[in-house]
C-alpha cells in the first residue's frame, strides 16, 4: 500500500528525517513510536505531502506520489488526522465533516451517520461551531472527518491525546473495525502504549529521525529497544 524509499526530509535547511525506508502492506495496522522530537509528526506530514522530501521516493498503491501535492494524495485515498487536530474552527461540526468528504464524493456510501453513531457527542452538536468544542471533542471530530472520506490509508498522529480513557478504548475499537470492515490500512503515531499494543500488528521505532527498529507489539512492554530509544 505504502512504501518509503530512503526518504530525507526536514524544515528549511534543518534536516529531520534521515533515509527512512519502510513498507506498509494493505490491510495492516502499523504504529510508530519514539520520543518527543524524534520526527514522528514530520514523517506523517511527509507522507500526506505537507512537507516535500529532499530526496527519496514514496510509493502509494505502487505509484510514486512524491511529486503530488497534498490534495492529490488525499484524493488518491490517504486520510490524515494531525496532532493538533486542526479542525476548522468557524465551520460547524457537520460542515467539518462535509469538508472531509470532498476527497471521495464518488463514493456514494455516506458515512456521516456511521460517524455520528461512533461519536454521539458529535451528533448532539452537529451545528455547534467546531472551535468551541472541548479538546477531546475536537479530537473525535478530526478522526470522524478523516473517516467520512473513506480513505484507503489512514494516518493518525497521536489519536488518543486529550481523549478520555473510555473513548480511547472506543477509538481503538473503531480503528480495528474500519480495518476489518472497510479494509482500511492504518498507520499511526502513539505514545499510549496500551493503545498501541491493543491496536497494532507491527510497530516501528524512530529515534532522531532514523527508523531504528521494528517490533511486534507484544514485545513493546519492557523491551530493551524501547528502553533505549524511548525512555531516556
Amino acid at each position: 500500500m505504502l512504501e518509503l524509499d530512503e526518504v530525507n526530509a526536514g524544515y528549511g535547511r534543518t534536516p529531520v528525517l534521515h533515509d527512512i525506508s519502510m513498507e506498509i502492506r494493505e490491510g495492516e495496522v502499523v504504529s510508530l513510536i519514539g520520543r518527543n522530537g524524534a520526527g514522528k509528526s514530520t514523517l506523517m506530514k511527509t507522507i500526506i505531502g505537507l512537507l516535500t522530501p529532499t530526496s527519496g521516493d514514496l510509493l502509494f498503491k505502487g505509484e510514486s506520489i512524491v511529486d503530488d501535492p497534498a490534495e492529490r494524495r488525499a484524493r488518491r485515498g490517504i486520510g490524515y488526522v494531525p496532532q493538533d487536530k486542526e479542525i476548522f474552527p468557524r465551520l460547524t461540526v457537520h460542515e467539518n465533516l462535509k469538508v472531509g468528504r470532498f476527497v471521495n464524493e464518488a463514493n456514494d456510501r455516506s458515512l456521516f451517520e456511521e460517524m455520528y453513531d461512533y461519536f454521539p457527542i458529535l451528533d448532539e452538536r452537529r451545528n455547534q461551531k467546531a472551535g468551541t468544542m472541548s479538546g477531546g471533542e475536537q479530537q473525535m471530530l478530526a478522526i470522524a472527518r478523516a473517516l467520512v472520506g473513506a480513505p484507503d490509508l489512514l494516518l493518525l498522529d497521536e489519536p488518543s491525546e486529550g481523549v478520555q480513557p473510555t473513548i480511547i478504548e472506543e477509538i481503538s475499537d473503531i480503528v480495528g473495525e474500519i480495518n476489518r470492515d472497510m479494509g482500511t490500512t492504518v498507520f499511526f503515531v502513539e505514545q499510549n502504549l496500551d493503545f498501541t499494543i491493543n491496536t497494532t500488528e507491527r510497530c516501528y521505532v524512530i529515534d532522531t529521525g532514523e527508523l531504528v527498529n521494528e517490533l511486534p507489539p507484544d514485545e513493546l512492554r519492557g523491551s530493551e529497544v524501547v528502553q533505549q530509544h524511548i525512555t531516556v
Binding site: G12, R13, T14
Partner: protein, 362 residues
C-alpha cells in the same frame, strides 16, 4: 580612552535578540555611516542638505511606526494623523509664540504633548474597548481621514496668530529657532541638518535600548499573543496604550520637525496616500527591525524625488513596480534579506540571528 567595560555595558544595553545588528562589524559600519552623514555638508550643496534633512525627519516617523506596528503589533494606519497633529500644533503655537518668546522650543514641546494626549485619548478608547488587529487599522485610518476632511474646510480660520488655511495649509511656520528672546538663533540649512541628524541617531539608539529592555520583550509578546501575555501577568491594555501614545508622540515630534523644515503644513499629510506611505517603508524595509524601515524610508523617498525630476508620466509605474517587486522577492523585508545573505556568505559575527527567523518559517 574609555575603559572597555563601559563600552561593553553600553553594548549590552543596545544589543539583544530583539534588534538586528549586534556584531562588532555592524557597529563599525554604523560609526562609518554616521561619520559620513556628519561630513556630508562639506561635500554637497544646500539643496541636497535640505532635502536630506526632510528624509531624516521621515525616518524618525518610520521608526515610530516600526515600534508600534512592527514590534508591538498595533497596526496603526493613522500614524500620519499624529504626524499631522504634531505639525499643525507646531505651526499654530510656533507662529503665535515666535514673536513673544523668540524661539520654537515651546512649540516643539507643545507638538509632542498635544499628540501624546490626543493619541492617549484615542488609545484609551481603542484598547480599553478591546479593539484589535485590522479594526485598529481601520479605526486609526478613519481618524486620519476625518481630520483631513475637517482641516480641508478651515479656510479663513485662525487659531492664535496662525491662519489654518484649509487645503492650502498653514504657511509661514517658523524654522527651528533655539533659545529664547534675544538669545535665540534660527537654524540655517546646515545647522538644521545637523540637529535633525543628531535627533535621528539618538532616536534610533534610544529605541534600540528600549526594545532590548524589559519593555521590548513585553511589546514583542503582545504582538505575538495578547491573551497569552495577559496570562503572564502583564496589563496588556495599559502597555499597549503606552506604546501607542509614545510612538504617536514621536510621530508628532517628526511632524513638528517637518513643519519647521518646510515652514508649511497642509492636510494632505492625513490623506489616504500619505497614510500608506509609512506602511510601505516599514513593510519593504523589514517589519521586525528598526534598521529596515530606516533604510527603506530613505531609499523610497529619495527614489520618488529622483523620479519626479524625470518629469515623465511614468513615475508611478516605476514606483509601483518597486513596491510590487520588493514584497514579491523579499517577503521579510529588504534589510533582513540582505543581512541573511550576508551572514550566509560570511558566517555572521556576534549576531544572534534568531535561528533563521526568516527561513525556518513555513
Amino acid at each position: 580612552m574609555t575603559d572597555p567595560g563601559r563600552i561593553e555595558r553600553l553594548r549590552d544595553l543596545l544589543e539583544g535578540q530583539n534588534t538586528l545588528g549586534n556584531s562588532t562589524r555592524f557597529w563599525y559600519g554604523f560609526v562609518l555611516v554616521v561619520a559620513f552623514v556628519f561630513a556630508y555638508p562639506l561635500l554637497t550643496n544646500p539643496f541636497v542638505l535640505k532635502v536630506n534633512t526632510d528624509y531624516f525627519v521621515w525616518m524618525i516617523l518610520a521608526l515610530s511606526l516600526a515600534v508600534v506596528w512592527g514590534y508591538t503589533g498595533i497596526f496603526n494606519f493613522g500614524q500620519t494623523a499624529f504626524f499631522g497633529i504634531g505639525a499643525y500644533t507646531f505651526g499654530i503655537v510656533g507662529i503665535t509664540l515666535i514673536e513673544v518668546t523668540g524661539g520654537t522650543n515651546v512649540a516643539i514641546l507643545a507638538a509632542v504633548v498635544v499628540t501624546v494626549v490626543a493619541s492617549a485619548l484615542l488609545g484609551y478608547f481603542m484598547f480599553y474597548g478591546e479593539i484589535r488587529g485590522l479594526y485598529v487599522a481601520i479605526l486609526t485610518l478613519a481618524v486620519a481621514l476625518t481630520l483631513n476632511l475637517l482641516l480641508v474646510r478651515t479656510t479663513n480660520t485662525t487659531i492664535g496668530a496662525a491662519e489654518i488655511g484649509g487645503n492650502n495649509g498653514i504657511t509661514g511656520i517658523p524654522s527651528l529657532t533655539l533659545g529664547a528672546g534675544p538669545f535665540s538663533t534660527t537654524l540655517g540649512i546646515t545647522a538644521q541638518y545637523y540637529l535633525v541628524a543628531v535627533l535621528l541617531v539618538a532616536t534610533y539608539l534610544g529605541l534600540r535600548i528600549l526594545l532590548n529592555s524589559y519593555y521590548g520583550y513585553v511589546l514583542l509578546a503582545i504582538r505575538e499573543d495578547e491573551d497569552r501575555t495577559r496570562m503572564l501577568g502583564y496589563d496588556v491594555r495599559k502597555l499597549k496604550l503606552i506604546a501607542f501614545s509614545l510612538t504617536a508622540g514621536l510621530a508628532g515630534f517628526s511632524g513638528a520637525l517637518h513643519a519647521a523644515w518646510g515652514n508649511f503644513i497642509d492636510p494632505t499629510v492625513m490623506g489616504l496616500t500619505a497614510a500608506s506611505v509609512p506602511i510601505i517603508w516599514v513593510t519593504v524595509g523589514g517589519r521586525n527591525t528598526l534598521i529596515g524601515p530606516l533604510v527603506a524610508a530613505y531609499a523610497l523617498q529619495s527614489i520618488s524625488t529622483r523620479l519626479s525630476t524625470v518629469g515623465s508620466g511614468y513615475t508611478n509605474i516605476f514606483l509601483g513596480a518597486v513596491f510590487v517587486l520588493a514584497v514579491l522577492f523579499f517577503p521579510d523585508g529588504l534589510v533582513p534579506a540582505v543581512v541573511n545573505r550576508w551572514q550566509e556568505r560570511t558566517g555572521g559575527g556576534r549576531d544572534i540571528d534568531p535561528a533563521g527567523t526568516t527561513e525556518a518559517e513555513t
